[in-house]
């Protein structure tokens, strides 16, 4: 009997945590309890979401949820999808996934970890308080919270100013006007009850919130008995798509609830506006790739040709 720890950065009742628990339960059932996976929600282990590659590689945990944006400082190539307006939605992500996962696993492999399966958080959009954004020009002078350099660059292109805040500070900051908006998925807005201070959404599909890799320590995997390993692979293979479908369904419900129950004004920018934003961001994509080496340049070229951007 083997016991594995699975690091999650979401809270104990968060749907994502619950889904990892479903996965753990399925594995336990499929292996007759031979492989027991303990899901460790936010706060239980001392690691930050940015440290998961190291924690999995060193065997502190055997499995870890690795959101692409959080590991951009550890394995930059794996976070190509957080380039604004490059991979904008779940369909585009499915389209490029084989190449992306292969490129990411090549990097992960250098540290003895690989992707067991992946899911995705929903599309990231811009939400805020006050007068809704109706056109690109409305961004001028708005203070939007950004969490990394890529978002800050996008906000610069939009004419907004970016402001850095820890997640815990967002509600008070937006309520009090320290910030006018923030970037996330509707799913998270509802989950964290941020709708209380949210008046508008600008559904420009900044980027898909994925992939979120489930990293696995390769040595631990190889140490499993053959039959257990086969069962684990089997469960993982079907669980990834199921996980993604559940998340995306949640997003649909969340968007509806925001619009109908909470009166959030939804504005969808025109195709021309999106095309213009893609144009404005293209040079930044290329700079990013150059800065992050040959693997990044190659992957960006593949992704762009696949998506025709």
């Amino acid at each position: 009997e083997t016991t594995w720890d699975l690091y999650a950065f979401t809270g104990v009742t968060h749907p994502i945590t619950v889904r990892y628990q479903m996965f753990a339960d399925e594995v336990a059932q499929a292996t007759n309890g031979e492989l027991k996976i303990i899901v460790r929600p936010a706060g239980e282990l001392p690691f930050k979401a940015t440290e998961v590659v190291k924690a999995t590689s060193s065997g502190q945990v055997q499995l870890a949820a690795a959101y692409q944006g959080f590991i951009s400082g550890a394995v930059p190539v794996a976070s190509i999808t957080s380039l604004p307006f490059l991979v904008q939605n779940a369909d585009q992500l499915e389209q490029i996934a084989p190449k992306l996962i292969a490129a990411a696993d090549a990097e992960f492999g250098k540290q003895g970890v690989r992707t067991l399966f992946w899911h995705t958080w929903p599309v990231q959009n811009i939400f805020g308080r006050g007068e809704p954004i109706r056109s690109l020009a409305d961004f001028k002078g708005r203070k939007i919270r950004s969490t990394d350099g890529k978002q800050a660059e996008m906000l610069k292109q939009l004419g907004a100013s970016s402001i850095s805040l820890t997640t815990a500070e967002v509600p008070v900051a937006v309520e009090r006007g320290v910030a006018d908006g923030y970037i996330t998925a509707a799913f998270n807005v509802v989950g964290a009850k941020w709708q209380e201070f949210t008046d508008w959404a600008w559904l420009c599909e900044v980027h898909i919130g994925g992939p979120s890799y489930l990293l696995m320590n390769i040595d631990a995997y190889n140490a499993l008995p053959d039959d257990v390993r086969a069962k684990l692979d089997e469960v993982a293979k079907s669980f990834g798509p199921k996980f993604r479908a559940l998340n995306l369904a949640d997003e649909k419900t969340a968007l509806e609830s925001l619009e109908k129950e909470h009166g959030v004004t939804m504005v969808k920018p025109s195709d021309a506006e999106i095309a213009e934003l893609i144009d404005r961001m293209t040079p930044y994509w290329e700079t990013w790739a150059t800065q992050n080496g040959d693997a990044a340049v190659k992957l960006l070229a593949e992704v762009r040709s696949e998506l025709g951007k």
């Binding site: 190291k54 951009s72 550890a74 203070k143 990394d148 402001i163 850095s164």
Partner: protein, 173 residues
């Protein structure tokens, strides 16, 4: 608390190592004070800039690093100046020889503990350097740079504890 053994935080010895350790902790302590002043400056600057719809964009990141600087660089200094809390109610009632033994005991344990921390901190910084891990921020700071503060501060603390032990060993007849 006049018994010299009961002032384990501050090696009052005259030996070269004790003086060097004391000087090191005071220099680091002063830098910790500067880091705290830095927090005030950066936080206030951010607030003022925000009034004009600007942002340093690095305030939370730099603020966190400066906070680490305050804590780690201030560590040896704080221990030396008796800022660390301990339960003295039993200790104070011990006879002098037992108290001496107790002091030896906890100073040695602390030294081993801090040595372990120095070792893991070294591994931590080394990993960040070798893997070139970056902060996920606008600056994309190489993480080994701020994390070195942890290594430096813990090392200064270790030096101070070792100096304390060395002073006592030297004076054992």
């Amino acid at each position: 608390m006049t018994d010299d053994a009961s002032e384990p935080g501050g090696p009052r010895g005259t030996g070269r190592l004790a003086r060097a350790a004391a000087a090191l902790s005071d220099v680091f302590g002063a830098l910790a004070g500067v880091a705290l002043a830095g927090i005030v400056v950066i936080v206030c600057t951010e607030i003022v800039l925000r009034l004009f719809r600007h942002s340093l964009l690095v305030t939370d990141e730099m603020g966190a690093y400066l906070n680490a600087a305050v804590v780690f660089l201030g560590l040896a200094y704080s221990l030396r100046h008796g800022a660390f809390i301990r339960m003295e109610f039993v200790y104070d009632r011990l006879s002098r020889p037992v108290r001496r033994l107790a002091t030896w005991c906890f100073v040695l344990i602390t030294t081993v503990f801090v040595a372990a921390l120095v070792y893991v901190a070294w591994k931590h910084v080394q990993y960040a350097y070798v893997q070139d891990t970056r902060a996920i921020s606008v600056l994309a700071t190489p993480e080994w740079i701020p994390q070195s503060l942890m290594l430096l501060g813990l090392a200064a603390l270790l030096v101070q504890l070792v100096a304390f032990i060395w002073e006592r060993v030297r004076h054992v007849p």
